[in-house]
């Protein structure tokens, strides 16, 4: 593989509301077994990419904890490796990352040292299974300067939260607008890019000199008529978990067998294994249509729900249509419906949390 990887995991999505108080969106648990960043890391290692940098900034403790070893994704090798970059204050720079392009610019050294001619860029909150080899082949065949992975969206999708592109017949991107109020097409950018390393470095330098710091606005959109930018159409499962609604739906998607198996089959999405014992079901447990992770102990009723690692559910507690994040303790008799329950919470026994089916409630008791 002729590319190094970069995962942009610095952001906190405003759309995820209080869920990102605790962590960067790249560290959000997905499908009971993964963190969002696992998809980028796995897609890269599965495509044969050996060197990956994860750029973090916002509330990155959870994320760093998750990335404390590179072995889960097979990056701990002499050739290549897994790098995490947080903003650093130096003699010449005392800025946080002022934007995605700035975060890349500030880590230009990483790019300079790579022997791989290409760079692939992937967002930290993108849930999909992606083969970069296919995209690179497309990129080379088109003679593109930059390729952007794009996806034809269903009409029901809220396009205002996405970047929308228009392509000509040759798949060259002619229009690109970020989170438009009115979308001109239903083709969304997935935030996955391939670009020659040298070109990226040149564009980053130019943007920096003009005090422009955003990868999408200041490079992709600004240069789209100067550089040849092509759209690589992807038709597999894709979810960008940047709103509470899309996060909730993405997790519920994992209750579907076909979607779950799609991610589980080789080349599988890999995550950190934590040496937890298997899930245990005591007397009184009733479990229907649910995903339950290791380390859980269940004494109550669970329906249409996703439980992350080490969740304890007390006797007579009822959990429906909900996502419970890791290490939460739900006392006997608590009722939770249409909710996303934060991690490390303790839900008291008499509590009742009921959200709307269209608008799940975020349960967060601790500050």
């Amino acid at each position: 593989m002729k590319a190094a990887g970069i995962i942009l995991a610095g952001g906190s999505s405003i759309g995820l509301k209080e869920l990102t108080t605790k962590r960067a969106s790249a560290a959000m648990p997905v499908g009971a077994a993964y963190r969002a960043v696992d998809f980028g890391l796995s897609n890269m290692t599965n495509s044969g990419i050996k060197t990956v940098a994860v750029l973090t900034q916002y509330n990155s403790r959870s994320l760093h904890e998750h990335l404390n070893s590179s072995k889960w994704w097979n990056f701990g090798r002499k050739q290549g490796g897994l790098f995490t970059f947080t903003p650093t204050i130096t003699k010449n720079n005392n800025w946080w990352y002022r934007g995605t392009a700035d975060s890349l610019y500030q880590n230009m050294d990483f790019l300079r040292k790579r022997h791989e001619p290409y760079v692939v860029i992937y967002p930290g909150d993108c849930v999909c299974k992606f083969d970069f080899n296919k995209m690179l082949k497309f990129h080379e065949e088109k003679g593109a300067d930059i390729s952007i992975a794009v996806k034809h969206m269903e009409d029901s999708e809220d396009l205002r939260r996405l970047g929308i592109v228009e392509m000509d017949q040759d798949k060259r991107i002619r229009q690109f607008s970020e989170k438009p109020m009115k979308a001109s097409s239903n083709i969304a950018s997935m935030g996955i890019y391939i670009i020659k390393k040298d070109l990226l470095m040149k564009l980053l330098q130019e943007s920096h000199d003009e005090e422009r710091y955003d990868l999408v606005q200041d490079i992709l959109i600004r240069y789209k008529d100067v550089e040849k930018i092509y759209g690589y159409e992807f038709d597999g499962y894709w979810s960008n978990i940047n709103t509470v609604d899309s996060y909730y739906r993405c997790n519920m998607d994992f209750l579907k067998k076909d979607i779950r198996h799609y991610f589980e089959k080789e080349p599988a999405i890999k995550s950190k294994t934590e040496d937890l014992p298997s899930a245990k079901f005591n007397e009184g447990s009733v479990v229907k249509n649910a995903l339950i992770s290791s380390g859980c102990i269940i004494n109550g009723e669970i329906e249409n729900s996703v439980l992350c690692k080490k969740v304890f559910v007390g006797k007579g507690a009822v959990i429906k249509n909900s996502i419970v994040l890791n290490e939460t303790y739900i006392e006997d008799g608590a009722v939770i419906e249409n909710c996303i329950v934060e991690s490390h919470e303790r839900i008291p026994g008499n509590a009742e949390f009921i959200g709307e089916a269209e608008e799940p409630k975020i349960v967060r008791l601790k500050n």
């Binding site: 040496d275 245990k280 079901f281 479990v287 992770s293 669970i302």
Partner: protein, 422 residues
Amino acid sequence: MENKEVIAMLLAGGQGSRLGVLTQSMAKPAVPFGGKYRIIDFPLSNCVNSGIDTVGVLTQYQPLELNAHIGIGIPWDLDVNNGGVTVLPPYEKSGDTSWYTGTANAIYQNLAYMESYHPEYVIILSGDHIYKMDYAQMLDFHKENKAQVTIAAMPVPMHEASRFGICIADDKFRIIDFEEKPEKPRSNLASMGIYIFNWDVLKDALIRKKDQSNCDFGKHIIPYCFQQDMRVFAYKFDAYWKDVGTLSSYWEANMELIDIVPEFNLYDESWKTYTNANSCQPTFYGVDSSVYKCIIGEGSDIDGDVENSVLGVGVTVEKGAKIVDSIIMSGTHVGADAVINKAIIAEKCEIGAGCKIGAGINTPNVEKPSIYNSGITTIGQGSVIPPGVTIGKNTAILGETTLSDYENMSLPSGQNIIKAGD
């Protein structure tokens, strides 16, 4: 090489023949336990939790699964530069070459391995037992007593004492006599087969006893130490310790894990058990599933009923299937409407739709009554059971069976079908 204060030698070469078809193609320490674990995970995890980072694992009988499981020791953090885990199979020598003929003989044949670490102490373990023990505390006890040999021992019911090596100790736990499987036991303090030796003592004893045939710790080395009037102490251990050497004790120990707060608690954060598990997937429970009093491994897909059972990783239970009081190991597929009652089904089996397993009367096995006698149906690794057949109690099946192997679509209680293992 840097000196190590203490190294462990883990005896993992035994067959465990009383586990029947479960140990047909793997040594007993490699047999899965408690869903996602294998028996050897418990002593290995004890080592790392006790701060021992140098472990020699002695293998002999059917080592493939064990080798694959241990690898370079990554799951136990034993992939270290100095020390770590080393698999020690028997090897050819310029003079006499022999298999490991006894527990002590196996250790004797690996003197060079131990010597290379210049240890002060060597702890001898076996890969056959389920327990959590802090070997560091035992070593402290050993040092405090200025012992030359310390034997971990636990009180057992007096009527069972004659099955064990029995330590007769004074009130300071110095052992004054040791009897291997005595007819009339004088104490109920049973040796657990865990020994700490001062290295010089162990080396000397092994060399002096090197010509002893089938040289064994309990039968030869410990008695020798007494003859030499050494300071031999008993380290009393009074927590969960289970020899899962028979099908019924193996089944029971698994079932005990299901208790609300099991005596042997896998969920204890302070003493984790590590295993080589690749899967981090959650388990899916379908709309028609029912799970009640059980442990279910990662990545399983449950659409049927599971009650009072322990399931491994990546088990599929189709709709309408009903599993009660059973152990289903990793990767096994249970077809729709199959009914499984008190069975041990090993890894990667295919149980056809509508099978009835564990049906009928409880007659002992005809060929091997001493192994299959507790009403448990045992199905070995990789077996295939065709749809619709009925299988009785105390039966053993191994291999890819087809309908032609069954008379009237059934295998009566006490019968076997063994098609593999050549």
